[in-house]
């Protein structure tokens, strides 16, 4: 049955949301016009508020409708069919919601609605001008999911998530046969996204993006209503909130990439990553200039520029990642939905509008009478903010290369520019020095800020400088840091920790509320130290030293032995030496849903195209029995874990389980997606992933049968192994079944010699109820299947049928990431610092607002008699 109502309702609500946003924009605009009469303003304001409430209700309705469709598995809808499936665990159906472009726009719209509602309630005096900007943004965003075709013009506005499958793919044959066809199951969620980080990372990131709108709206409102300085107080706490949430969102993404993707790193300089960090850098710069903006006119002007720039950069990055312009350049940009034009209009409206109003008001902005002193806090904060912007500028200048190509194309030339081949080198060349300077400035700036130093008294900085030089010297010696640029960054970061730490100790005794800045700076400095060691000093452990490279032996050792040989091949149960470890690939495991451990794949039989498996034996994990033989249990069908045993020289053994995901339904040809497993120690991570496997779901392909007829104790060669028929013994039971009278069974014992290991293969031959049965034995380690084909009583010879197959192997890579925990520790410290700073500025704002409120109501009381 096709549930058309919910989709139509959703679609209608999107249209209502769009129209109400437009009306609210106009009404709030009217209410914000200061030249109108007070009464008229109030009427418009009331009307605007009602419209906005309609908008909020409509948006919530849209969100509910889409979730209803996904949650109830209405696969007649394209969105549900494409992004979810029946087997998807409940938690991840939430992720299906924003897996696609329409849903992520909707997430953004949802956050804006939440933030807008908070603003209306918390800040009445700024409501009209701020909400004008808000409602306009909402109109643009809802237009992206409008999905309305303007008749006559053949112009499509937006892409709706409420399309039925048959509307999206009308040409597939099944709809010709049955127009009411409903797919039984969906395509499912990309297995990489079936991760808890993917449940919280996108909402956090989009809340970060959405909240950059608040400082922007206040800046525009300030310019519009000529409250040139007053806008900073309500905007600053939100700017800090935004920096906090966006920062945490980006870091969650980085952590997810580290844990789930096999890039081997938390940061890949991918355009999508870059275009989220650049607005953050500029936002952080804006926060700093806003703090001094009420005292210093240059900083005030800069605050306007940077707050506007932050929001425009968010729009620009939206445009880049969603218009398809990145094309080849990015691994994870969205595909083009045909929204490029619309996105460009959105971007240009705000670029032209906000820059226009800034230029228009520029003359009325105050200027500083005197030049700022080199010994003032303003000077140092200003330099820091500038460096942050330059850092962001460098990243965006390179990331925009595909955009330059497009622009050149518009002018009829072909640029053919491509991103730098060595991206890491290119970015590091600048960013390392930028951040060395920025992090030094955090320390110096704090000393000036708290007036610990000033003109003629710089002594305050001597002690921290001395201490940090001593610590740095010690760390450099102990860790063996040799490159000059790393020495510079390390020393700078240690100085920042010491300097900010000194300030922290000083002020925490007075009022810990004010220590957010120092704590945040310490966090960032720790992050830089962690990044430095974990990236620059990553050690590849899996260097391939096996002597198999005969064909290219010369090349292999040439060039100072630096040829790329960072992956090694492991055969099942064959130990291989790697660095100081002895490595053995032991098994393939699967992941049952309700058992807290992976279980060997051989314990169960996987049901194809389903998420169930049949137990082939009792499933006992940690002495607890979960299933009996023959039971059906739920599993994660895509996930396979490769058990790799690491044996340290000390004899300590630990296992890692890197994951490989195989999804036949999606891949069609069994494409694999691999994720690492990490052995975490305090001072380093051992990071392991598998890059190639023999498909665990495929049946082995056996070679043609080869027969060997041998006598007892004969030696013969199977698949290049020496095999010896040691014995043939009589057995009384086979597979736990006791044989009856007149039945007989024998078992051959064939010893197979491998380099360092002996295997015994024992196929059996059974006569039961006058029927002959032959039970072959398979040895996966050797890739052999042996069957006792015939016993000749006359000659005493035995005939074996042997098949061989490709032995199972995996190709893996292991790296060591030293001191990566300092990075994670730094992110925690930074987050705590930002939370403290945000709370402090919100308190300030509320205190001032209430004071103004009381003053205003007193005024009103005074005025009342006159008014009457």
């Amino acid at each position: 049955m096709i549930h058309t109502t919910i989709g139509s309702a959703g679609h209608l609500l999107v249209i209502i949301a769009f129209v109400s946003a437009l009306v609210a924009t106009f009404a709030y605009f009217k209410a914000g016009m200061t030249n109108a009469a007070i009464d008229e303003q109030l009427t418009w304001k009331r009307f605007a508020r009602v419209t906005y409430i309609v908008h909020v209700a409509a948006v919530l309705g849209v969100v509910f409708s889409l979730y209803w469709i996904i949650g109830n598995h209405y696969f007649e809808y394209h969105y549900a069919w494409k992004n979810s499936s029946l087997s998807l665990p409940t938690g991840y159906t939430i992720s299906s919601f924003w897996q696609d472009q329409e849903g992520s726009f909707l997430l953004w719209i949802f956050w804006n609605v939440v933030l807008g509602s908070i603003l209306i309630f918390s800040n009445r005096s700024w409501e009209a001008p701020v909400m004008t900007v808000f409602a306009l943004v909402q109109a643009f965003l809802t237009s992206m999911i409008l999905g309305v075709v303007i008749p006559g013009l053949d112009l499509k506005i937006g892409s709706t998530p409420f399309l039925l499958l048959k509307e999206v793919m009308p040409d597939i044959p099944v709809f010709k046969m049955d127009p009411n066809f409903v797919a039984a199951d969906g395509q499912g969620l990309n297995p990489l996204l079936q991760n808890y980080w993917m449940v919280i990372h996108p909402p956090t990131l989009f809340l970060g993006f959405a909240s950059t709108l608040i400082p922007f709206s206040f800046a525009i409102a300030g310019l519009w209503t000529k409250k040139i300085q007053e806008w900073i107080r309500p905007a600053l706490p939100w700017a800090l909130f935004s920096a906090l949430v966006l920062g945490v969102g980006i870091l969650m993404g980085a952590y997810w990439a580290y844990e789930t993707l096999n890039f081997g790193s938390y940061w890949n300089w991918d355009p999508v990553e870059n275009s989220s960090i650049v607005p953050w850098l500029v936002l952080v710069a804006a926060v700093h200039t806003m703090i001094i903006g009420r005292k210093n006119a240059t900083a005030l002007k800069t605050s306007f520029i940077l707050t506007i720039a932050t929001f425009i950069l968010v729009l620009y990055s939206t445009f880049m990642t969603r218009s398809g312009i990145l094309g080849n350049a990015s691994v994870h940009s969205f595909t083009d939905l045909g929204l490029s034009g619309q996105l460009l209009i959105y971007l240009m409206t705000f670029v032209i509008g906000s820059i226009g109003i800034l230029i228009y008001r520029w003359k009325s902005l105050p200027s500083d009478e005197e030049e700022v002193s080199t010994y003032s806090r303003e000077f140092w904060i200003f330099i820091g903010a500038t460096l942050l912007c330059l850092s962001g500028f460098q990243i965006i200048a390179t990331t925009s290369i595909p955009v330059y190509n497009k622009i050149a194309e518009l002018f009829g030339t072909v640029l053919n520019m491509a991103l730098p081949a060595d991206q890491i080198g290119h970015y590091n060349k600048f960013q390392l020095w930028f951040f060395s300077l920025i992090i030094i400035l955090t320390g110096v700036g704090q000393f000036f800020w708290w007036k610990r130093v000033g003109k003629g008294k710089l002594q305050g900085l001597y002690n921290p400088l001395l201490i940090s030089l001593l610590i740095s010297a010690a760390v450099i010696t102990v860790q063996g840091v040799k490159d000059i640029q790393y020495i510079a960054l390390l020393t700078a970061a240690i100085f920042a920790v010491v300097a900010n730490g000194t300030i922290l100790l000083n002020i925490i005794r007075g009022n810990y509320n004010l220590s957010g800045g120092a704590i945040t700076h310490i966090g960032v400095a720790l992050m830089l130290i962690g990044i430095l060691f974990s990236s620059a000093y990553t050690k590849v452990v899996s260097i391939n030293n096996s002597g198999l490279m005969i064909s290219r032996s010369e090349e292999f050792t040439s060039n100072d032995n630096k040829e790329n040989k960072e992956n090694i091949t492991l055969w099942l149960n064959k130990p291989e030496k790697m660095g100081e470890y002895m490595l053995t690939w032991r098994d393939v495991r699967v992941e049952p849903r309700h058992i807290p451990s992976y279980i060997p794949k051989s314990w169960v039989d996987l049901i194809e195209n389903d998420y169930h498996a049949v137990a082939l034996r009792d499933i006992v994990v940690n002495d607890k029995k979960y299933n009996s033989k023959g039971d059906t249990l739920e599993i994660f069908p895509e996930n396979f874990y490769y058990e790799i045993e690491y044996r340290e020289p000390s004899g300590r053994v630990f296992n890692l389980f890197p994951r490989v995901q195989i999804n036949e339904k999606m891949g069609g040809g069994g494409g694999i997606v691999s994720s690492p497993d990490i052995n975490r120690e305090i001072d380093k991570d051992l990071y392991t992933y598998v890059s190639m496997v023999t498909n665990p779901t495929a049946e082995p392909i056996w070679s043609q049968t080869e027969n060997f007829t041998v006598n007892m104790a004969d030696t013969f060669f199977v698949n290049d192994y020496v095999a010896i028929l040691d014995n043939v013994v009589r057995v009384d039971s086979i597979d736990g079944v006791t044989l009856g009278e007149g039945d007989a069974a024998v078992k051959a014992m064939i010893r197979v010699l491998d380099n360092d290991h002996e295997y015994v293969i024992s196929p059996s031959y059974v006569i039961r109820n006058q029927m002959v049965a032959r039970k072959p034995e398979v040895n996966n380690d050797l890739g052999l299947r042996v069957m006792l084909q015939e016993i000749n009583p006359q000659t005493g010879q035995f005939t074996f049928a042997v098949n061989t197959t490709q032995r199972d192997f995996i190709v893996m890579k292991a790296t060591e990431k030293p001191l990566i925990n300092i990075l994670w520790l730094g992110t925690f410290v930074m987050t705590i610092g930002l939370i403290m700073a945000t709370i402090r500025r919100f308190r300030d704002f509320i205190k001032m607002r209430d004071k103004e409120h009381i003053a205003a109501s007193k005024n009103k009381d005074k005025m009342k008699p006159q008014a009457v």
Binding site: K82, N83, M169, N190, T298, G327, N328, S330, V331, T335, E371, V372, T386, L390, F393, Q394, A397, T398, I401, N416, M417, A418, L419, P420, A421, D422, H426, K429, F430, T538, K539, V540, N544, L548, M549, S551, R552, K562, E563, N564, K565, E566, N567, I568, T569, N663, M666, G667, G668, G669, G671, I672, V673, S674, S691, M692, F809, V811, K813, T815
Partner: protein
């Protein structure tokens, strides 16, 4: 001159430095003939070449070799660029996942002794999740 003006000039200088360096570091899209030309003239810059895999009429990939059991870090294939020039490419790392399914391949690297030594491979594969659409994946032979 006022401090703010000096400051402004310094910023402009740094910004110009960034732009110049970006232009200098940026790679280019070329074809194999041009790549060969660059290599013989001693230009050591890494470049991007776009092409398709060599296939027979049945759609099977020809001249592709990866034997992890011998050397997991040696993968070679033949790429045909947009001017129909075929070129052997050597990639000293594991064979990228989904390579066989890629419709279009971008190799980043340079010509060395008659073969193209790729440092990085970008692939356009038919999307796993969307029929009829292509998506990009990348693989790097990282040298850390």
């Amino acid at each position: 001159m006022k401090k703010i003006q000096i400051f402004g000039l310094v910023i402009i200088a740094v910004a110009i430095g960034i732009i110049v360096s970006t232009a200098g570091d940026a790679s280019t899209y070329v074809d194999f003939s041009k790549a060969q030309e660059m290599a013989s003239s001693g230009d050591n810059e890494s470049i991007h070449v776009v092409g398709k895999l060599k296939k027979n009429t049945a759609g099977q990939i020809l001249e592709m070799e990866y034997q992890p059991e011998v050397d997991p870090n040696y993968f070679t294939f033949t790429l045909i660029d947009n001017n129909n020039v075929a070129q052997k490419v050597v990639y000293k790392s594991t064979k990228p996942q989904d390579f066989d399914k890629s419709e279009q391949v971008v190799v980043i690297g340079k010509m060395q002794n008659g073969t193209f030594a790729a440092e990085k491979i970008l692939m356009k594969c038919p999307s796993k999740y969307e029929n009829g659409k292509l998506e990009t994946t990348e693989a790097t032979a990282s040298k850390s």
